[in-house]
Symmetry: D2
Subunit: 379 residues, 4 copies
């Protein structure tokens, strides 16, 4: 089974998420990075690519020439990873899909619902694999939670509490490269914490619960003077089937680091999971003792076991969860090459539909907040 | 310094909170229980009082004869503890205040804002001590948090997350004495989880932060068919000074036990406290390492040290926090007897003003939820 | 049922454990403090007693006159609490037992095995109740652990890890009243951390496991120059039935507060309990998910339910565990008065036999350490 | 900077640690696996190598032909990873060192002190890099702890508590491939849990504290009938400078998973770290609040920052710690190629000296246990 060939757009010197994608792609041994267009300066892009071991002619000056150049090769890339600021995702993804190349795209998928719908149509039309790196859904214990709910172990879901708290934007971070583009609507889109982290919490909430949020009431705040996007997000949710939820996302929660946390309560049981301690899932069957479910431990669902590399007690973390998305993508692409259904649990990988939901959520939150928290449908 | 004499209305056989009040009153040695009217059946009330060591003639058949009987005695009670279902608090408190007897009342103070205002007027008019047992504000580490915020250690408050999750009403509890009266609007008032636990979270939020919530948007839910009051409460808050908050209270959160938790984030630091692990307070000064502040440990504020009995590492808990309210009440009453200002930190005890805020919160939440979450002022 | 009358020897101004005994005796409402000899200065002892509400003639100048005076009264005390430095326990206990008065004694029971055996003989001869306040065995979850092991839920015990770490003696504490007597062999006996805290860990280990330690190898250390007793204790244990154990006690473990912790592993399951988080017990049945057993929660043994006051999630702590010993003592004494077997689980209270084991442990540890860790029997 | 070429001996189908080494080598992008001898059956070895992407002629039938074959190539491997059962480490390492090829060897380094000394002499003679994968010392927070102690933040070390508890051998695991060789003295050497995990705890203890254990008293036990090696290890330690320690390792601690934990107490502060929650280090400066030091967070030492890939709150785990050893090895080998001193903190990687200490520890523990726990020097 040959390794797959990966290209990358974005992720040059000083980028955070590009390096993460590369480590995630390497970890499970399914991918070799062979092509890329890493930064806007063509010389720097080429030098950076060569420093990563690429052949000089596959370190392209821009994504357009890369899409065209790769499309012409017999050994063309099996997928492109798009790790640029949000506002460029749509046109880059379009270019590669048009060139017949599958896409692995960072989130949020686009900066408007219209663009998201456009990509969804194109993915449908081309039939190409499209994976969106809502990486937290790659954690084994998140998949365990989903499997338990799907199997009915929580009964009917009543209450969902999702949160994602950080503090790295608790002060004006002008000059910080990561902060600058995220705070610039022309590059990040109209959503701040809403797009950067609330969408992760929202995707995880729907992924794990199996429920769709039907309507939300939102209150967006910008605490730092001069900041052009929200940095604190409060949302009430109403889900299909009558479940109620709350979602909080903040990048000014002083002391919080990367506090993504999900709690789901049904009439037969409740679950708690926190990204910073990802190896355990707390489960309380109604009226019984609480159970600590460990990755690699007793009573783990197939979907979680499949997403695990090493025995329990040997902590897996963020990169392993992210790598799972890359391994899922590899299987989706191999299945596409071989014109067969994907094996195992690869279809759990988030895709274009999650991207559309994310933009629907972003636009509904902005609209609700602008109209004094009016309940606004997500559809 | 003589022990104070306590009377009690309510708290007979099978009651939960009456027994808690008695243990709390005993713990610090400031109170002797000497009079009471414990249940509606006069014989049972007398027998129960005698079983507690009361003289038979001070185990009264009803609260009216108790108020009058005690008022006539030279050794009359120094305070009455009211531990009946909510709907009777107002008239009982009125009777004792009218008889010149200080009141220690369980929460919520009344079942309507009008009744709460009425008690506030009467307390003001009589000048009598009135303590409301929002007991969680008696925990040393809750007072530590308040002292730190008051001292500016968090800077300007931006975000407050309060929650109180339980699961004991996750099923229909018909026949459970504690559940029955709480679910009966004629005894508990119109609020379910809202009155029973959300008011605790709300009081603690305002007590610790020193901020007043100015307006809320609420979504109340009743998940159990046939239940007449809410069992899940979702609230967005806007506080004086621009802070934003969320408050969640639930009695159907399967697996939660008594999960009162408060997190407050300012521009200089953040705090986290949870009632189930009350001995520690987590504090992160902006950009520095997180600190674990322990009751009885290093760097504890006077207000917290004052509320502590034994060295750190020897866990104090719920009864000690509750006892603190009784010790505060003792000091308030002694100061009243001696016509002096109360010593130390006794004025931290919650009182009639907290009761008024609680009813204002309840009525605003019900009104907001009834009007699709419209932002509703609390004043 | 009348309240019992308690006398106290020791526990005057500035004492720590005397105040704890008084709170513990008050909490559950079984005891009234009516007599005492609190400090060596007769005037101060009387004044202190009166300040606690005692009649002046029952605030005695010394324990001898107290034992004799009380023995002559019709309303004599039902028990005496001995809370003096260790070296005086034996003669004080003797005096009261000789006077026909039951004893509640702080630990360690005496400062020599010979004195401990002497008390054991006297208790046997008089038939009087004798309770030793190894208070940690009063915690509900410690009793839960014992009940589970007794019921075979752990199978055959293989490994026991006990530890008790503090840091309050990490520096020379000369001038600290609590430290001074504990560091003075003439008042505390020959054992430092060994007597003060290692005995607690040892008693808990035997209480919970149901096993007796047959032999130990010990290494005692004194880290603070000039200190006359050990401040760090390392012990290997061999238990009846082949179980192996380790016990560590330290008062120089910088950062530790009151870290008593017990872990027991059998061939069918394992248990973990820590005094600083006493409300939960972690249980892992072999090959299954770990379970969190909560005081007041699902699947709690009768012996633990009996030792609980308030619902789970409302933390009980150190004083409640200590109060349980006083409630057990009350029942033992009432049963003695009524010449019947004690009800419920009162016999779980530690007694003179635990005291003898404690001194056997102390003497074996000192002997082993003095002979280069030679394995030394405890019998 | 070219990627380094890695060879591997051992780690075929069904092996655990071989796969870990391969993931660890891939993660940071310094290594390509290009040669190997994976299992004893030559055909299977070749097929397995090819499945990993190796050229068929570099999937060797045995380690001898591999050492010779690689030595002859211009593009020979830069290092060999030895991941076979312990008993073969010595001869394999010898073969590659003799061929001039650097070694990355799994632990314990050999099965006798004599063999360990022999390798140490050979490493010295050849001047070749030799890295021993005591991977836990690659965790950033373990290096943080070491840096803090080195900088004097704990003052003089007094007490060290190390433990490593597992339960996967709590039952007879005959037929489990991982258990079989570990329980067979002809393949694993004379030590069971002692060699497999106690050596990790011992290495970490010395690595972090900077102290050498001078003498130990040990008690080794085999709980499972028929098992030929120890499965529970209790050790008392005396360290240079007067520090005392305890070390417990068990593979029958029912409910424990991979519980490596280290606590170190000095006269100025104390530290706690646990492998299962590797992202945080607890530090208590004497008399001050406890601090939570997070990987990637405030106040992190250069040595820890150097060993980190992604921001705090995005959990790194076991594979990242292991990868650090491989990245250190890459730097050591590049420095060797370039005849310069290694950059940064690569010299923190464990090496042949740790291997010698490990065997000295194993042999002292076996000798001490055989002579009733006699204190036995480690030198």
């Amino acid at each position: 089974m040959r390794r797959l060939r990966l290209g990358m757009v974005g992720g040059g010197e000083g980028a955070f998420i590009g390096g993460v994608h590369r480590m995630a792609a390497r970890l499970d041994g399914h991918w070799d990075l062979v092509a890329g267009s890493f930064q806007s300066d063509p010389d720097k892009s080429r030098d950076f690519g060569v420093s990563l071991g690429l052949a000089a002619d596959r370190a392209y000056p821009d994504y357009q020439s890369m899409a065209q150049g790769e499309a012409r090769r017999d050994d063309r890339i099996d997928a492109v990873a798009i790790v640029t600021p949000n506002a460029t995702h749509h046109s880059i993804a379009r270019a590669f899909l048009d060139a017949g190349i599958p896409v692995i795209c960072d989130k949020p998928m686009t900066t408007s619902r219209a663009d998201a719908d456009d990509l969804a149509r194109l993915v449908k039309k081309t039939g190409l694999p499209f994976v969106l790196t809502h990486n937290y859904s790659g954690y084994p214990m998140a998949r365990q939670a989903r499997a338990m709910i799907e199997a009915g172990e929580l009964g009917a879901i009543r209450v969902i509490q999702a949160e994602y708290a950080q503090d790295w934007l608790a002060t004006d971070q002008a000059g910080n490269k990561q902060a600058d583009w995220r705070g610039d609507p022309s590059r990040a889109g109209p959503a701040g914490a809403l797009g950067d982290i609330a969408t992760h919490a929202f995707q995880l909430l729907e992924f794990v619960s199996g429920l769709q949020a039907e309507a939300i009431s939102a209150d967006l705040t910008t605490f730092i003077p001069g900041r052009k996007v929200d940095d604190n997000v409060s949302v009430l949710l109403r889900c299909a089937g009558g479940a109620k939820g709350m979602l909080w996302a903040s990048q000014v929660a002083t002391g919080a680091v990367n506090g993504l946390r999900l709690r789901i309560y049904g009439d037969k049981g409740g679950l708690e999971w926190a990204q910073e301690t990802p190896e355990t899932l707390l489960f309380t069957p109604l009226g019984q003792r609480q159970q600590v479910i460990r990755r690699g431990g007793a009573g783990v669902a197939d979907a979680a076991a499949h997403a695990t590399r090493i025995p329990g007690g040997h902590p897996e973390g963020y990169l392993e969860g992210f790598a799972q998305i890359y391994s899922d993508a590899a299987e989706l692409i191999r299945a596409h090459h071989e014109d067969r259904a994907p094996h195992g649990f690869a279809s759990l990988a988030p895709g274009v539909a999650d991207g559309v939901r994310g933009l629907a959520f972003i636009e509904a939150a902005i609209a609700s907040s602008a109209s004094h928290g009016a309940w606004t449908p997500i559809n």
